[in-house]
Symmetry: C2
């Protein structure tokens, strides 16, 4: 024990000597926020937190960590939900925070592109782009804190995926520092470039296991200055899916969000935001929050009006309200966001991030909720999500007075129950949040031999010494230590 | 020589014995069309052409080829433009044609997805999908012959990229047979699936160097039953780019094509299709073919009308014609297609497939055409392409009476001249056609050390024995034979 401590102190000294005190944090208090996850559920420690100011600093950090045998956990805004950016071995890992590399290098509205450093906060990037009349479509709850580099590393999703795609589809180019310390300079803004294997794809969604993303070039769209938002009540989730299909056709490519909510959303939102106005009766079986948006000559309000007339006339939508101002639209979105806060206020609960095929979404939710009800009759399921992507967050809340142990037990059981239904539907246990350390075991259990072999072969090819984000995604350490 | 011939005959016998005569062609006449490229420019031979009927057949073919030390050149519809799907070593390669694996496994309009075998002809897939009221957006000149598997392997582009993206963005899942004979089963139709590194991305655009794609699942959109097409005349290519920016904003995400053409397009199209109606004066400096399309409630004709009123009033567009029927629209597109045929009729010429950033497209074309004019005053440049993607096909035609040797000499010089301008603009020498064998040297010369090392590491990791598509993209043989 004394030996390890001494050795950690030596390593800290060596890091400071190599990189300068300005880049290196080693005090427990200073490191705490980098070593605790977004939900505050899991706290660990690290040998140090390194905060580079430049790509060259990242290269220097990798070199000294390699020499000292330290593994590197890259971290963006630390808003991940699967423990991919926080350390789990305090004596052998450092956290590399990109927060100081936050410069927007260029926004070119003539070229529909922007180039930005990894540590730029998403909302700041979106705002700077909007000031130039342009739009960066990535939109998620954490956008006031998350970094664009983390978004790319985790291939973040969010509410606009159905129109604009996941982060992957918004990336034009990347600058990445590799485990050997060299820089992959792929920071092009070309929209079409078909020169061989597209290497940057490897780093998108790899959660820092193959490289450290230091800068990103992204696609922009014209700013959609017209938006129409409506909250609609329906008789079932099945009807919500029918409505989605109709909306896709009727509104063409102009639908930018289509979220479904259960009636419980209103109760939960009110618990978080007591004075939030609820503009509809709260006892319909299902609700949809829909947004249509666009720029230029298309009359978005008229399109929403005619769409709603049609679907109300056909009986598919039984009640609804259109926001008549942007503040009303904001309040409708606050129901969606407040629902999440309300769940958090009720205490630790099981969160999932599931996708199934769109045509099976309604029956999946019915089956999974029934399975939870049978196995855990005192728990409450709440399912909501991005219908058009087949993405549902089916969360399970233990009863209000449950002790931490009881909660832990319920959450553990609920996960097993729900994952079994996901497997039956050939769904994904991670539609948008990634794998990180939290879902690694569940991920590994579901990997085919071929996929596992490929993942290991690629990791070995790029990071043979397992320097980057060990224990994230798959536990390569254990595998690679085996004889061939 | 006798020894080699004997050995080839032995290998042919071994292939037939292992796979059955039905799968194996070995007669030169039978193999000719598989060993000659789309343009008929380059003819080679092969030990055999293998035509599997199933994924299991592909696995069996790989096993026997491995035993015999034969390298495998996968081939789709053989419409590639860069010699990626035709052999170049008659005594050590076999062609693996996917043409018999052409079944559409499923079209699910409720799920906005389809699953199809690699050898299905793109136009047949598009038609079958259209019959179900759905739309597969990939659209290119070769669609009557090319295969979906080849489209994915080459990450094909085409005229609808600006709205729907390259093939990569249309792929939901892949089934791939790997060099070790195992099957990567990633044929999911999930729209969101963020479980770790997205392995399928490796095979998209790899031109068969890492795996043989045997089936594909793709994203569908609602069929755009309304389309408006117009041909517009402008004072310059620069104005065409300004027009594109305005169209992106005014028509929001409903613009599906925006092609620019030079005045020479009409002459060339007439040479190929003498009775083609030309609805505009043919002496303006630049032309644009624009298509707006959509389904449902958006009034596309009205949108086109109002857009054109605005841009003609502002003087940006100086003349124009809107197709008033689908046959008129077809005729406008025939100008675009006839222009290509007309170039082919004038004899062998230099074809390019360049991208630069959108904001630099006009000055790039001016600079590159001027450089060609200076170096090769007797040649004619013709530049056209997909403006919104920054993609220009700048082709150079030798004078009409040139001998084959003179043509070859002009083409060689023109390539050097144009590529130098591409490099100055940090553009791509392959925006959509890929690298294949034709552009390998030009590609390799422009690779950074880091990218080269990564490409080699990945190839080594997945295909250590260099079984798949040797000499395509990079000449790994030469590199891997070197001592480390």
């Amino acid at each position: 024990m004394t030996e390890t401590k001494a050795s950690i102190a030596d390593k800290r000294d060596a890091l400071s000597a190599a990189l300068g005190d300005d880049l290196v944090l080693t005090e427990a208090d200073d490191m705490a926020r980098y070593c605790t996850d977004w939900h505050g559920d899991v706290t660990s420690g690290a040998v140090a937190v390194i905060r580079p100011r430049s790509t060259a600093d990242v290269q220097a950090a990798i070199r000294i960590c390699r020499t000292l045998g330290l593994s590197i956990v890259p971290q963006g805004g630390n808003t991940g939900l699967v423990l991919g950016g926080t350390p789990d071995e305090p004596e052998s890992q450092i956290v590399l925070s990109l927060e100081r590399m936050s410069r927007i290098r260029n926004i070119d509205s003539d070229d529909f592109s922007a180039v930005v450093e990894a540590g730029c906060i998403l909302a700041q990037l979106k705002d700077a782009i909007a000031e130039k009349g342009m739009f960066f479509p990535l939109a998620l709850g954490a956008q006031g804190s998350c970094h664009i580099g983390g978004n790319v590393s985790t291939n973040a999703g969010g509410v606009n995926v159905l129109r604009y795609g996941m982060t992957r589809e918004l990336v034009l180019g990347l600058e990445v520092v590799l485990p050997d310390g060299s820089v992959f300079d792929g920071l092009s803004t070309l929209r079409k470039d078909n020169r061989g294997v597209d290497l940057k794809q490897l780093f998108i969604g790899a959660e820092g296991t193959l490289g450290i993303i230091t800068a990103v070039s992204v696609k922009l769209a014209p700013y959609p200055d017209h938006a129409a938002t409506a909250l609609l009540a329906l008789n079932s989730l099945k009807d919500a899916i029918t409505l989605y299909r109709r909306a896709r056709r009727d509104c063409c490519d102009l639908m930018s969000a289509f979220e479904f909510l259960p009636p419980l959303a209103f109760t939960l939102a009110k618990e978080a935001i007591p004075d939030l106005p609820i503009p509809l009766r709260a006892d319909y079986p299902a609700y949809v929050l829909i947004e249509i948006s666009g720029s230029g000559l298309v009359d978005i309000d008229d399109l929403m009006q005619r769409f709603l007339e049609g679907v109300m006339e056909s009986g598919l939508v039984v009640d609804g309200t259109i926001a008549s101002s942007s503040s009303q639209a904001r309040n409708l979105w606050l129901i969606r966001e407040g629902m999440n806060e309300g769940q958090a206020k009720r205490g630790t609960h099981m969160r999932t991030d599931i996708s199934v095929s769109l045509s099976q979404l309604a029956s999946f939710v019915a089956d999974a909720e029934a399975a939870v009800k049978q196995a855990l009759p005192d728990c409450i399921s709440v399912s909501y999500g991005h219908v058009g992507d087949g993405n549902v967050h089916l969360n399970v809340m233990p009863p209000n007075g449950a002790t931490p142990e009881e909660r832990h037990d319920r959450i553990h059981k609920a996960k097993t129950v729900v994952n079994a239904v996901v497997d039956r539907y050939q769904g994904s246990i991670s539609a948008e949040h990634g794998i990180g350390r939290l879902k690694r075991k569940d991920f590994e259990e579901r990997l085919s031999d071929t996929k596992r072999r490929l993942l290991i072969a690629i990791k070995r090819a790029i990071d043979p010494d397992l320097l980057f984000n060990t224990h994230c995604q798959i536990n390569l350490g254990a595998v690679i230590d085996e004889p061939d």
